[in-house]
């Protein structure tokens, strides 16, 4: 699950999930909430991303969605497949072309975190400039 935390000028996204892959799924659902409903024809994107650490991979993931929403008016809806291993992510994301409502300027590294806790749950925090 995810929640938005109040900030004066930015949006902070907090995620709790049972697995690392589920963190990425929740991040997409949160981003889709920002982009809004409605839309046109269906679109699928195959994404391959890599980063030296998992928190940066989360930044890459959201940054990719930011780019696709602005450059291609892509409104993500769901993940058809997601593989996560050794700092690499491969995913098939389904959605549609539309008019994203709430565009994100950038995915910041401010207070960035992605970690597993003692109870084997995963926590992530990322601040978006909106």
């Amino acid at each position: 699950m995810f929640r938005w935390v109040e900030h004066t000028a930015e949006l902070e996204l907090e995620i709790e999930a049972p697995s690392e892959a589920a963190v990425f799924e929740e991040a997409l659902i949160a981003f889709a909430e920002l982009a809004g409903d409605g839309g046109g024809y269906p679109v699928t994107h195959e994404l391959e991303l890599e980063a030296e650490e998992s928190s940066m991979l989360l930044v890459e993931w959201l940054s990719e969605l930011v780019y696709l929403s602005e450059a291609e008016q892509f409104m993500p809806a769901r993940i058809a497949s997601l593989e996560l291993a050794d700092g690499r992510l491969r995913a098939t994301v389904e959605g549609h072309r539309g008019e994203p409502k709430h565009l994100v300027k950038g995915v910041t590294l401010h207070r960035l975190a992605l970690r597993q806790d003692d109870t084997a749950g995963w926590h992530a925090r990322v601040v978006l400039d909106v």
Binding site: V66, A71, K101, L109
Partner: protein
């Protein structure tokens, strides 16, 4: 905060000894009331973080409109000694060269009369507003390289370009340093406003504080003006994204440790630093071209509603950047001044100011929140002595967007503004509520503080008569 030392009624300092990692003190321009509000968010910690950056000189500054951001606070100023002081993309922000341009129409509000609503409507048709909006018929991709290199110089009126900070074109811009992704995000957005706090506002001059400066700026009582607030759109956002990532990866190599990862930086003389500065300059030039295209669109709307003579007579007063890093000289030293949510405010006599304004100081525009007053200021010598040639940039946010929406509904705000005779055009009622006046600090107080601190002085007060929002 116990570390705060009162320097004057409007200046407070956190000594460099407050934290072991601070290289210089942090200073805030505020009175007691604003300081109490500033202490309520994380901006004081953030300005102390800025004071840890390698190469930072003298003092890290927070303007009275400061509020919490990411990395730098919004309203932060810091200067790094060149060649080896750092450049931080987060110290400029995602919206590179977000800024404000003021146009003065050749007529008074009384002469505009009942054509006001038609003019606001025409401007809203000419200037696409809202998230990710594009504009048909904008410059071809091949032309983008020219815009990135020259800004508005190739297509803007000569007198507009001359009345733009840095002549609308930062030196050292290199289109090759701008990624393909940045180009894709921004190419079709030239001449668009964007969302968030960006706007085009039709206003009238309600008060003149400094007759001589107002005369130099070509402003008179009751005159109709247009204030344009926009930036480098998706192109600048992507440039920041690209280079924060590059610098984050390079920091270990440069032996830099920071209290906040979003302050990611590299020596300005390093390959990463040079590449960012070249890309940032290109994005800044794109932003000036964007505001030029919006100004041209406003003139087209003026021509349709008021005639060609009025469009021809619509002069640009000036255009200022409030998110940028610039090379400037202070006391014989070459410094890289980061202004994130702060405006250059050079005093009279500066060779950087257009000749017609040189005896009165550089114009600065301080937009209030939607529906409230905006101010035209002039740079004062105190800006050089105390703030690396800088002053504030706006009212400064006080509430989060959600909190603003809880205080007032967009439809209610629209009715309230229209009840005060302000024509409103906005594709997003929600966006309107997020930018409600209640979400911002009192702009009069912010301006009062920069005037008392000697950073800039009031020249004119403008009040909105039409608002077009993203």
């Amino acid at each position: 905060m116990s570390e705060l030392v009162e320097i004057s009624e409007v200046q407070w300092e956190i000594p460099a000894t407050a934290r072991p990692d601070m290289r210089v003190p942090a200073r805030v321009f505020a009175d007691r009331e604003l300081l109490a509000a500033i202490e309520g968010d994380g901006s004081l910690e953030q300005i102390q973080n800025v004071a840890t950056l390698p190469g930072v000189v003298e003092v890290a500054l927070a303007m009275p409109d400061v509020h919490q951001g990411y990395g730098f606070p919004v309203g932060g100023v810091a200067a790094m000694e060149l060649p080896d002081g750092v450049v931080s993309p987060g110290g400029v922000g995602y919206d590179i060269n977000c800024g404000v341009r003021l146009l003065a129409l050749p007529l008074a509000e009384a002469e505009l009369g009942r054509r006001r609503e038609a003019l606001v409507h025409e401007i809203s048709r000419e200037v696409p507003a809202g998230a990710g909006k594009t504009k048909r018929g904008t410059h071809r991709t091949a032309d983008l390289d020219v815009l990135l290199r020259d800004g508005p110089r190739g297509f803007g009126r000569t007198e507009d370009v001359e009345r733009t900070e840095s002549g609308g074109s930062l030196p050292g811009a290199d289109a090759a340093a701008v990624s393909e992704r940045a180009r894709e995000r921004g190419a079709s957005q030239l001449g668009t406003m964007g969302s968030g706090n960006h706007f085009v506002e039709l206003q009238r001059v309600v008060r003149l504080f400094d007759q001589r400066a107002a005369e130099a700026y070509g402003l008179r009582d009751d005159q109709v003006t247009v204030l344009i607030h926009s930036g480098s759109r998706g192109l600048g956002h992507q440039v920041c994204t690209d280079y924060v990532k590059q610098m984050d990866a390079a920091m270990r190599r440069h032996g830099i440790e920071l209290p906040d990862r979003q302050l990611a930086c590299a020596p300005a003389s390093s390959p990463e630093g040079r590449a960012y500065l070249a890309a940032m300059a290109a994005a800044a030039n794109f932003a000036w071209a964007n505001r030029q295209a919006i100004a041209d669109a406003v003139r087209a709307a003026v021509a349709r509603v008021l005639g060609n003579e009025s469009a021809e007579g619509t002069r640009q007063v000036y255009d200022v950047a409030h998110n940028v890093a610039k090379v400037e000289r202070y006391d014989g030293r070459e410094l890289l001044v980061h202004r994130k949510g702060a405006t250059r405010a050079f005093p009279a006599g500066s060779a950087e100011i257009p000749e017609p304004y040189r005896e009165v100081g550089q114009p600065v525009f301080i937009p209030g929140s939607m529906g409230t007053a905006s101010f035209v200021l002039a740079g004062e010598p105190g800006s050089i002595a105390l703030a690396f040639g800088s002053t504030c940039h706006g009212a400064g946010r006080r509430l989060s967007r959600t909190a603003a929406r809880k205080q007032i509904a967009g439809a209610e705000l629209r009715r309230e503004l229209e009840g005060r005779g302000i024509v409103v055009r906005s594709p997003s009622t929600k966006g309107l509520a997020e930018e409600a006046p209640v979400a911002y600090k009192d702009v009069d107080r912010v301006v009062d503080i920069v005037e008392r601190a000697g950073l800039s002085r009031r020249v004119a007060q403008l009040t909105p008569i039409g608002v077009i929002k993203g």
